[in-house]
């Protein structure tokens, strides 16, 4: 397959529909949270929900006033190339959200290193990930250049520790 262009990078075939399987990978100590996940509009309309789902075009900042009643934010990745969900997670962590942030959908092993850094702590990929590859991926980088939500110390701080 020849590249027509590097342009195809944001289009391409849509990924399969999301399924309802619970998180298959979790990096939290608290008990997994199993309850209905509301679409953002329903959640904001005041339903009695503790879990909400954010689609790529939706504004995660709208959740900031409701952190006290939120246990889980699920961020949808209908296509792995759509990177808006990274900013959604980063915005939530920077605003102080400490509940679970789950990446759901077209979540690939090559993305989860970045996802962990911006604040995701659970993953519901459409296709199960090989735990060995996941571990190798997450252990790969000994250092990071920049601060993010995971609290890792950037190299500029190590250099001038």
């Amino acid at each position: 397959m020849r590249d027509n262009q590097d342009q195809i990078a944001v289009s391409g075939a849509p990924s399969p529909a999301l399924d309802d399987t619970p998180a298959r990978l979790r990096f939290r100590d608290d008990a997994p949270f199993e309850s209905p996940i509301a679409p953002l509009a329903d959640f904001l309309a005041g339903g009695n929900f503790a879990a909400v789902r954010i689609e790529p075009g939706e504004d995660a900042r709208e959740l900031v006033p409701h952190f006290d009643r939120l246990k889980l934010v699920e961020i949808a990745f209908p296509k792995f190339r759509d990177g808006r969900g990274y900013s959604s997670a980063a915005v939530l962590r920077q605003a102080g959200f400490t509940g679970e942030i789950r990446a759901a959908g077209d979540v690939l092993v090559d993305q989860i290193g970045f996802m962990r850094r911006v604040g995701f702590d659970s993953f519901a990929p459409n296709k199960p990930l090989d735990p060995k590859v996941v571990k190798a991926t997450l252990d790969r980088y000994p250092y990071v250049y920049m601060k993010a939500a995971d609290g890792k110390v950037p190299v500029w701080a190590l250099r001038h520790g």
């Binding site: 792995f80 808006r84 990274y86 900013s87 920077q94 090559d110 970045f114 990071v144």
Partner: protein, 546 residues
């Protein structure tokens, strides 16, 4: 020059290991080509007409002799003995085999080089002024800031799946040699009225199918905060940049659709949340990096005159040598536009020669320019003659910098899958008309001809004094003619002059334009671009189409 420390090296090594692992999983079919593609693109690997094309990053266009020798080795070992220096100050190889790619990456990482983020929808290699650190007109060397940006943007977790590619350029003088107003972010370092250094921040410039000149999003951001400010711009872009249409996905479209006032408001609001998080590197890190770009050990009292008794040498000095801030030194540009050459191409033997000369005469530093030439930035004036002789022996001393034969051309139909038409042969045919007479070229004066094989504009045709754009006319290669562009501090976009031409037609048209300009200029010192700006398009149009 910046040298890696243990941290930089460890990150590059890990990245190489990661990509080898990704290639392995692709070869075992554990990931699809569709999933692999963005991964390999983030490692500079494209599939092109004949083979894989690899783009190697040359951060802010600066490299050492050792690194240049490695680029020669790669050309010799993995390619057909040449490489192509690009308008983004990188080098491309056209004939790479996937099976050899791991070895190639290992070779590169031995000399602190890699191919990361030279393509894909991420923050690309940072570009800068090829005269950085040597120019008399700069307020400071801009490269430490480009290096800070390089580190900040390398494997940025939030910005590796942007709507589209993202290009940043940094300069530190009023003369813009890096086309910053045609970048997604352009940064100009300057000192404000209070004596504080900071950046003027341009955003939303770019070429491609919708060329736009960047707008100022902030008149002044202190140097200490420019990383968090960049983060704010990228955050707004990542959240709101269009993803429904690939042709509207660059930040320039977002800026245009929102308007610069609203875009600025959003960036400032975002920055207000980011600035307190301590994302900016501390002063000690600035100092560490700035120290690595300290001036080389200049010889104090080096003679400040050049013996110009050899007329050929004098020609080269007049055309290709620029003033240096240090008395006794000069900046020399090596033209990669020799007679009947391919713009930007260098053979491995030539790269070796350049590496040797850089070590011998130029404090071991080479720069790549966006017009596809190379620069030796710190040469003692007394060494220029010997260096010139060695360059001439390797066909590297063509005295045509910024003249009509110093043409930018993209790979075009000869290599590129997107091309509508060939670019390289057009450049060669135009050059052929003038290349036998340097005095005629000098009489014509500064003239920037830029050729792209399609609307994507890799050859900067929008910024050409004369721009040539390959189009498809009912299955035939055809060329449009544009006039009046500039990528410099007086940035402007070239405009289409009239109906397009076939190959011979475009060569003739350029001839007519030049003839008309020579008859119409107000003085021999008036450049083609200035005559065009003074007279407007109409008389040029008449000269070509009448």
């Amino acid at each position: 020059m910046y040298r890696y420390d243990q941290y930089d090296q460890a990150i590059v090594d890990a990245r190489v290991a990661e990509f080898k692992d990704q290639v392995g999983r692709r070869l075992r079919n554990e990931i699809t080509e569709d999933q692999f593609k963005p991964l390999r693109l983030m490692n500079g690997l494209y599939l092109q007409l004949h083979a894989y094309m690899l783009r190697v990053a040359i951060p802010y266009g600066t490299l050492s002799g050792t690194q240049m020798r490695m680029l020669a080795h790669i050309a010799r070992t993995y390619d057909r003995d040449y490489g192509h220096f690009t308008t983004r100050q990188n080098i491309q190889y056209n004939w790479i085999k996937l099976e050899q790619f791991s070895d190639l990456l290992d070779d590169l990482s031995k000399v602190e080089m890699h191919a990361f983020q030279t393509s894909g929808n991420c923050i690309r290699n940072i570009s800068s002024d090829q005269f950085a650190g040597a120019a008399a007109d700069e307020i400071a060397d801009p490269r430490p800031y480009a290096e800070l940006l390089r580190q900040w943007s390398t494997l940025h977790p939030e910005f590796s799946f942007l709507p589209r590619k993202f290009k940043i350029a940094v300069i530190a003088s009023d003369s813009d040699r890096a086309a910053i107003q045609l970048h997604d972010i352009g940064l100009q370092l300057y000192r404000n009225a209070d004596g504080v250094t900071g950046f003027r921040v341009y955003v939303g410039g770019g070429m491609g199918r919708t060329p736009i000149i960047g707008k100022v999003v902030r008149e002044f951001i202190p140097v200490g905060q420019f990383l968090s400010y960049s983060e704010a711009i990228l955050r707004v872009y990542n959240r709101h940049g269009r993803r429904d249409n690939i042709y509207k996905a660059r930040i320039k479209i977002l800026v245009t659709e929102l308007g610069i006032e609203e875009f600025t408001r959003q960036v400032e609001a975002e920055w207000a949340t980011l600035e307190p998080l301590g994302l900016d590197a501390p002063q000690a890190e600035y100092d560490r990096i700035i120290a690595q770009f300290a001036d080389p050990a200049y010889e104090i009292g080096a003679p400040d005159t050049i013996d110009l008794s050899d007329p050929d040498f004098k020609l080269w000095v007049d055309q290709n040598v620029h003033a240096h801030k240090q008395p006794g030194y000069a900046i020399a540009t090596i033209s990669l536009k020799p007679k009947s050459g391919i713009p930007g191409d260098a053979s491995s033997a030539q790269m070796d020669v350049i590496a040797d000369l850089a070590e011998k005469y130029a404090h071991d530093e080479i720069r790549v320019t966006h017009s596809q030439n190379l620069v030796l930035a710190h040469v003692r004036k007394v060494d220029l003659y010997a260096m010139w002789q060695a360059l001439a022996a390797a066909d590297l001393a063509t005295p045509n910098l910024d003249l009509v034969t110093d043409i930018i051309a993209c790979p075009g139909m000869d290599y590129c899958t997107l091309a509508n038409a060939r670019s390289i042969p057009i450049a060669q045919k135009i050059a052929a008309k003038f290349e036998n007479s340097i005095s005629e070229q000098r009489d014509i004066g500064e003239l920037k001809i830029k050729v792209s094989g399609c609307i994507n504009g890799c050859g900067h045709h929008h910024a050409g004094h004369i721009g040539i754009l390959g189009v498809d006319k009912k299955g035939e290669e055809a060329y449009q003619l544009l006039l009046g562009g500039s990528g410099a501090e007086d940035a402007s976009l070239a405009k289409i002059l009239g109906p397009g031409f076939d190959e011979n037609g475009i060569i003739d048209a350029v001839d007519k334009l030049i003839a008309f300009y020579r008859s119409a200029r107000s003085a021999p010192t008036e450049r083609f671009l200035d005559t065009y700006r003074r007279l407007g398009a109409a008389p040029f149009k008449e000269a070509v189409y009448a």
